[in-house]
Symmetry: C2
Subunit: 597 residues, 2 copies
């Protein structure tokens, strides 16, 4: 079947006169999750991993993917004739290097310019300039061979109620236009979906777990044009856009609009986000101001209304997770359960919370060694049984009409080893030390990351990921800025931690084949004392879920760490107690008991 598809696409390419064709894995908006409609690469190759790029030419079809997927790709590509290129392995060329080597002078390179980001496209231009390669990037050629392709997703737009906003679209547009004026940009083109949703105070459901609508927006001094699929519009939404004088146009008209609209000055667009096609349409006509969308930072700093709602829904979410964890602790080893079934149980418990809309990402439910794999996902067909003999990790969150939540807890089911307790205790120390930090305004995530990591680094252990990411408001669970990371990347812009941002704090230990531990609280960034030395800042917990004391050994903590844990648990009890009764309340009291050093 794959061979047939490859034959079909090769013939289409031949007819179109295209020598090499690139099929990446992306939607038109660089979204984190890709809808089935956009799985052209999977359709053509049979490879189902989340990251992979296909390059098709007359002589060869190559698939590039990263280390997480080498084994899976090898298996899935068997018999397809597709060559696997293991990214970042020694001697393996990048796609750019491959094309530079294999393309002949004046050949033609094709790709759908809507699913290729501007940076990659410009990079290709640079690498292939010497060979005088032409680019054909305005056609989706896979579409012609993919006869049973799923439909482009379209869901109904809904408007966030005023009392949940804190800021009307009018106020936001005024701020955006102020930023445009400052940047000397006559126009602003945004393709980043969560930025657009934030700006217009609307949401939808076109991308898995991300409450966004496929859309674009083009803003000038006197007009704001919102491109969205016709079927997404409800009468309420239409009335809403009319009320705020926002012109609504069809989603599919955007490229033509950019090619034809009247432009009276340069266009601001974020080349890290905008697709190559849109970039070309604009840059052919007018000067581009390439910088981050002004909406990105505005969206990151939550307003008072948002923060009030976030605090409220994080508490409700904490209650649901705590009850689930109590159930796990009490029933593991007694009733039959597996990673998938308990995830379903948690999801349904969360779904009962007032204001629940959706999950904010697919629940990660992992037992023992599975928790050591950062991208593990249990499914109905691929799951481990859970007994009372190891560490269980659950990373989950919800979309509520007032917050997007994210929280991870790891709990001991039955006896665990001393090493596990050591790792668990160190992770807890790191999470609490960062949460307890005081820092001067001007710090970026890089300045504070080490506070979470040092208890592990002291043991010569690292977690190979960032310590924290920002989180949207009824939006994407991964939202940048802020970021809490330590690694220095020359030339990369860092973001100052601002009061009103919310950020995850999730150190971990991942021991291959043995166990995985992650404790994740979400923190609000707040101003503290201001004096002659500057504005001091700190964090406040948003997450209030007990940390499993059965997995703690205070010998691996300093007295101050134990104090911090006790203070946190005291607060957990105080806040959760109204939601608990009877035996569960006793359990809450017991789970948040004060430890002695």
């Amino acid at each position: 079947m794959i061979r047939e598809r490859i034959t079909a696409i090769k013939s289409v390419l031949k007819d179109a006169g295209i020598d090499f064709y690139i099929v990446p894995t992306s939607d038109y908006h660089n979204s984190e999750y890709v809808n089935d409609y956009f799985k052209q690469r999977e359709f053509l190759s049979g490879f189902t991993g989340s990251n992979g790029t296909l390059v098709i030419s007359r002589d060869e079809v190559g698939l590039w993917t990263d280390g997480r997927y080498f084994v899976q790709a090898e298996r899935e590509l068997t018999g397809s004739g597709i060559v696997l290129y293991r990214m970042n392995e020694e001697g393996v060329p990048t796609i750019e290097e491959y094309l530079e080597k294999n393309m002949k002078e004046q050949q033609i390179l094709g790709f759908d310019g809507r699913v290729v980001d501007t940076c990659f496209g410009k990079n290709l231009e640079k690498c292939l300039a010497d060979k005088k390669i032409s680019f054909v990037y305005d056609k989706d050629l896979v579409d012609t061979v993919w006869t049973d392709r799923p439909k482009l997703p379209v869901s109904k737009l809904w408007v966030i109620p005023e009392e949940k906003n804190g800021q009307t679209v009018e106020e936001k547009l005024t701020l955006v236009r102020g930023a445009m004026k400052k940047a000397k940009a006559a126009h602003l083109f945004i393709s980043k979906l969560d930025d657009i949703m934030w700006l217009y105070n609307v949401r939808a459901n076109d991308v898995e777990c991300n409450p966004v609508a496929l859309s674009y927006t083009f803003i000038s001094e006197n007009e704001a044009v919102f491109f969205v699929q016709k079927d997404a519009l409800t009468p309420e939404a239409e009335a809403y856009f009319e009320k705020y004088h926002i012109t609504v146009k069809d989603y599919h008209e955007v490229a033509a609009f950019l090619a034809d609209c009247s432009l009276d000055g340069s266009v601001w667009c974020d080349c890290d986000e905008v697709s190559y096609l849109m970039y070309k349409r604009l840059s052919e006509r007018v000067e581009i101001i390439d910088r981050r969308n002004p909406t990105t930072l505005m969206k990151a700093v939550k307003n008072a209304t948002e923060l009030k709602n976030i605090r409220e829904y994080y508490l409700k979410d904490s209650v649901a997770l705590t009850k689930f964890l109590f159930w796990m602790k009490q029933n593991a080893g007694k009733v039959e359960m597996d990673e998938y079934s308990v995830a379903m149980k948690l999801d349904s418990m969360r779904a009962k919370v007032e204001g629940f809309l959706d999950l904010s990402f697919p629940t990660i439910s992992a037992f023992k060694e599975n928790a050591a794999m950062m991208h593990y996902s249990a499914t109905e067909d691929n799951k481990a049984e859970i007994a009372a003999d190891g560490l269980y990790l659950v990373d989950s969150g919800g979309q509520y009409i007032g917050a997007t939540t994210d929280v991870t807890r790891t709990i001991a089911l039955g006896q665990i080893t001393d090493e596990m307790k050591k790792h668990f205790s160190k992770v807890v120390c790191g999470m609490l030390r960062l949460a307890d930090a005081k820092f001067l305004y001007g710090c970026t995530g890089k300045s504070v990351d080490i506070l979470a990591r040092e208890p592990l680094w002291e043991c010569y252990i690292d977690y190979k990921c960032g310590t924290g990411h920002g989180i949207g408001y009824i939006l994407n669970v991964h939202e940048a800025p802020p970021n809490i990371r330590w690694r220095y990347n020359p030339g990369t812009k860092e973001d100052i931690l601002e009061a009103g941002m919310i950020v995850s704090d999730e150190p971990g230990v991942y021991i291959e084949g043995s166990h995985g531990i992650r404790i994740e609280n979400i923190l609000e960034i707040v101003n503290e004392e201001k004096n002659g030395d500057g504005q001091f800042m700190g964090f406040r917990h948003l997450t209030y879920v007990p940390i499993d004391l059965d997995a703690i050994d205070t010998r691996y903590m300093e007295p101050r760490d134990v104090e911090r844990l006790n203070a946190y648990h005291e607060e957990v009890y105080r806040r959760l107690e109204p939601y608990f009764e009877g035996e569960e309340k006793l359990l809450l009291r017991e789970s948040t008991r004060q430890l002695e050093y």
Copy 2:
């Protein structure tokens, strides 16, 4: 007198047809300390501060200086008719803005291009391009009016003995040429004095406390030309350069050489260091590769021989300082002493250490509130008496034939307040926590800075400077990289902390009008465990001087901090003990006693 000088220079400018003339405060090499020969700005204005730039035109003479010097400048400029421009105050123009506003089209701007750095020069070009201003930058016009100008400093060059090097000039040149090849640079021009000294394994004494010779070097594949004043050369030095096939030319020929030498490719030169004149001479002829000198990073990573000597001389230096501090503690309040006299005493004690060459910077000796001023300097005429009733801070160091040292201790003389003890204890915690850190290879100073600062930030106190700087080997006491700082400067390159670098660790508390505390140890960066998570790194103390326990209150420390202090003191005793006898040895024992928590 100042008025006469101004009149004289104005007449010279008129004759030369120059409308505006800039007189900065710098030598030809952007050195930290400026020799009397280069004090043109002081000569013309009477202002003696270390930072200031004069702009002279027919209508006005303006002096720009920073906040440290506003009061002093106002006083020193009285009656001179010179207008004071307070840098960074609201509404005060920068020099560029001032010139942009006041210069008329096609006027002529003059300055000595040897004392203006390339960045400033290029900036002026940019700001004044619209007005078609011409630049005259190859004349030192102050020289014509400064009849009793001191001579250009010249001291004898001496060669570092082979056994103190660890790397011959031949080996270093091979490394440098390798870097040039990689950067595709046919030539390398260096004007940074410590880089040149390091490369040729020579030293001199042309800049206060910096054991360097005024010099330049120009390196090609087959030739290395060293420009130095004729009088600096001894027969030994001449023989040495001949032995290594290094062409020696006169210092004053360099500009002519750059204008005439044969160039067969681009020239690498560090525009942050090279003067505007040299830059122009080169950039008029050939393409410039503007990046940091390859020698800068090579010099920062000390080799095994250097490290061995550094460890040895830091110990000797620690012994001298410890004995001085014991004397201070025993005699304060009993014998007459002042900040200046005790600094002289310390300097003379250090001078008796085997291998002593010079101080590495003028000793900072400050009592009580004077220690709160970061740039305080006691002199014979301006000094405070020392009694047994406050905190005394001493920051000092030596040049030895095997190390450049730097160390700060603050000690309690008599009773001090509880607040002082709190501040002192927190500073000690910060210094020791950073020294005890484990971190992954790839961290820059910014990732670890917070470890030293957090104990103070928790109390909403900051010190307004970096935590640490690199240090040369028988070279400049301030040498970058490395740097340990927290503040994020977009676009600024950071340096990874490398094994073999040495760095200061000097948190502090500065309370205006009351007291100043700084504890500074020098640390060596070392590799520790390497595993699947990466190469872990750590620090080792080079400084072994007791930390005054009379100023410690363990209530302000965590148990782990007390443990760290005890461990450090145990090591101080073990290492210093062989150098102490009798009552002093008892004192050493007492000063390094183990504290209980």
